[in-house]
Symmetry: C2
Subunit: 360 residues, 2 copies
């Protein structure tokens, strides 16, 4: 049993200094490595280093943080549990990227798991205390992100980045988001290239910031390519069914291709079309503006959200903010890959169809 006796108190720089016969600041400088600026000769440096070894001195990160304001600690705040029940969990892939990148640039991650409230909801402020403050900055993610908390965080000047677009009036928060706008436009372009002229957009009923991006991309591409937009009047689902009148219109050939906001919209769409005797993609093409699970029953034409890359870029953006405080940071767009599936084809050469608009 040669165990070192448990030290009552960890050695500090002043202990090292005493042993080496120098001042605490000399020790600090040697550790900080600015021996040139402080003009400490090699002999003294070695003496100090020996003392450090002998005492087993280890810098105190808390004191460092207090002094310098930096920690190499990056926060991750999710509004739900971080370790997901299912690997397919929405967050999961983001976290993979976050951890990967943090490791590469030698930072540690703080997972803010404590709820603080009795309601069990995760919040940033717990009885007025910004818990994130331990970390140099934080990456926030989660659909339920409380907008008031984000505004307060921003007002407090806390450096953070949000994964996914989140807009709060009167506040400029930095987001890292998939480039839905370009991706939506690319999908419309592809449909146009194939000869489609009349297309529709099926949106989710839920109001969400990222919807605006997709919609914008869709609309600009529709205008640019001179297409006709025939979207349903009522957005999304109604009692599990889509707008019947609009589906009937699709059946009469009013629309030859549909862009759906999400996969869960595409399935009822396909059902509704099947009810009316239409087959995808022979009669109607369908593309999905969202990543699709690899084991989905239908191989949708869709776009793939680069979640891993988004996570990585969130870290880089955050660290950029820390390095250049005060500088306003623009949102970061991450390109989406358009995946070709089995649900998009050329439009049928029906009575109402001609290929005047085709660029192929």
């Amino acid at each position: 049993m040669t165990t070192t006796p448990r030290r009552a108190r960890a050695p500090r720089q002043s202990d090292v200094a005493r042993l080496a016969g120098v001042s605490q600041s000399a020790v600090s400088r040697v550790i900080g490595g600015d021996t040139d600026a402080a003009r400490i000769p090699e002999a003294t440096v070695r003496r100090i280093q020996d003392a450090i070894k002998e005492l087993g001195y280890v810098p105190n990160p808390t004191a460092r943080k207090l002094r310098t304001g930096r920690n190499r600690l990056l926060g991750v705040h999710t509004f739900e549990a971080v370790f997901p029940r299912a690997r397919e969990d929405f967050y999961f892939e983001f976290l993979l990227g976050i951890e990967e990148r943090a490791e590469e640039i030698d930072h540690d991650l703080v997972l803010f798991t404590s709820t603080g409230g009795s309601d069990g909801r995760r919040r940033v402020y717990r009885d007025g205390v910004n818990r994130l403050n331990v970390a140099d900055g934080a990456v926030l993610l989660g659909v339920a992100a409380d907008r008031a908390e984000l505004a307060r965080l921003e007002a407090d000047g806390y450096p953070f980045v949000h994964i996914g677009r989140r807009e709060v009036p009167g506040t400029r928060i930095t987001c890292v988001v998939p480039d839905y706008e370009s991706a939506a436009a690319a999908i419309v372009d592809r449909l146009a290239d194939l000869g489609h002229e009349r297309i529709g957009y099926l949106r989710a009923g839920i109001e969400e910031e990222s919807y605006a991006d997709r919609r914008r991309g869709y609309e600009s591409a529709v205008a640019r390519r001179g297409l006709r937009d025939v979207s349903p009047a009522s957005p999304g689902l109604e009692e599990g069914r889509l707008d019947a009148a609009w589906l009937d219109a699709v059946a009469t050939g009013e629309v030859t291709a549909v862009v759906a906001d999400a996969e869960w919209l595409a399935h009822p769409l396909a059902d509704g079309l099947a009810d009316r005797g239409l087959t995808v993609p022979r009669d109607v093409s369908v593309a999905v503006l969202e990543g699709v699970a690899p084991d989905a029953p239908v191989r949708w034409d869709c776009l793939q959200i680069p979640r891993r890359e988004v996570g990585r870029l969130a870290i880089d953006t955050l660290v950029g903010m820390l390095d250049e405080p005060g500088e306003p940071v623009a949102d970061v767009l991450v390109e989406c890959v358009v995946v070709e599936g089995e649900t998009v084809a050329a439009p049928p050469a029906g009575p109402s169809g001609d290929t005047r608009g085709s660029t192929v």
Copy 2:
């Protein structure tokens, strides 16, 4: 745009104090809630609280940590990436429990992801700095845990708990481990109850601390029940095949049941037995001393490692150490459930078999 102008400097207690016309310590006491001990009347408390609200004051966790030594931050150090590629990952379930429990007791988690070294290996000490120090204590896990680092950590008096047994000579490190010993004994008991009298133990070649626990449980139960142990001379696999001589002995009825250290040993075992015309469990029973993937091709009789619970207990144990520093903490054993599968049955009533030893 009514955004609060970005404060150059976050307000501190002294700012609050000035506004409320009191001293900094009064503010600290009000925040700390020990207004009784400090005899601060309600009116003053309210004045201070108003000032806190007006300035949007938020305590600085770093300063707090420096002063009190506590953070409500618990470290998690894994020697590989935390967010696993596969959900079946060994660590995964532990982390689930860790996060769950940390959330319940209102602590945050620090994920030590940084490598510090150029070799890309995750280490506790990076150029002599104990990175874990930011957190109040840490849970370590990972088969590759460097023993020297553990010893140093212990010598430094850093509070930590290791998931899985890890022994370092001359050092007493606290582990939270599945109770393999009892589980192995329970499995042997079950075999004995079924009437087996001659059994063997198939161990993994890899030297590992937890092996000792299992072996101990096995041996004590074998002795207690008066069984005969006929284990192979050579442990584990050799060139992908098990000890042939021993397998032949099993084929002649020398052994009617085998306890295997791990699932990957059980498969070649079953193959070897099949080669000799034996069927599991009709001719030979096989039990596995390790959890088995739910989608395994064979429904082994095995024991289930309560990983989630181990994670939770690791947190509790760690917090206990923080609350009572100095107290030695015994290892924590977590009971394993023995799962009945389809690979254990009563021994065949062969020429060499009698039921004298059966207690059923």
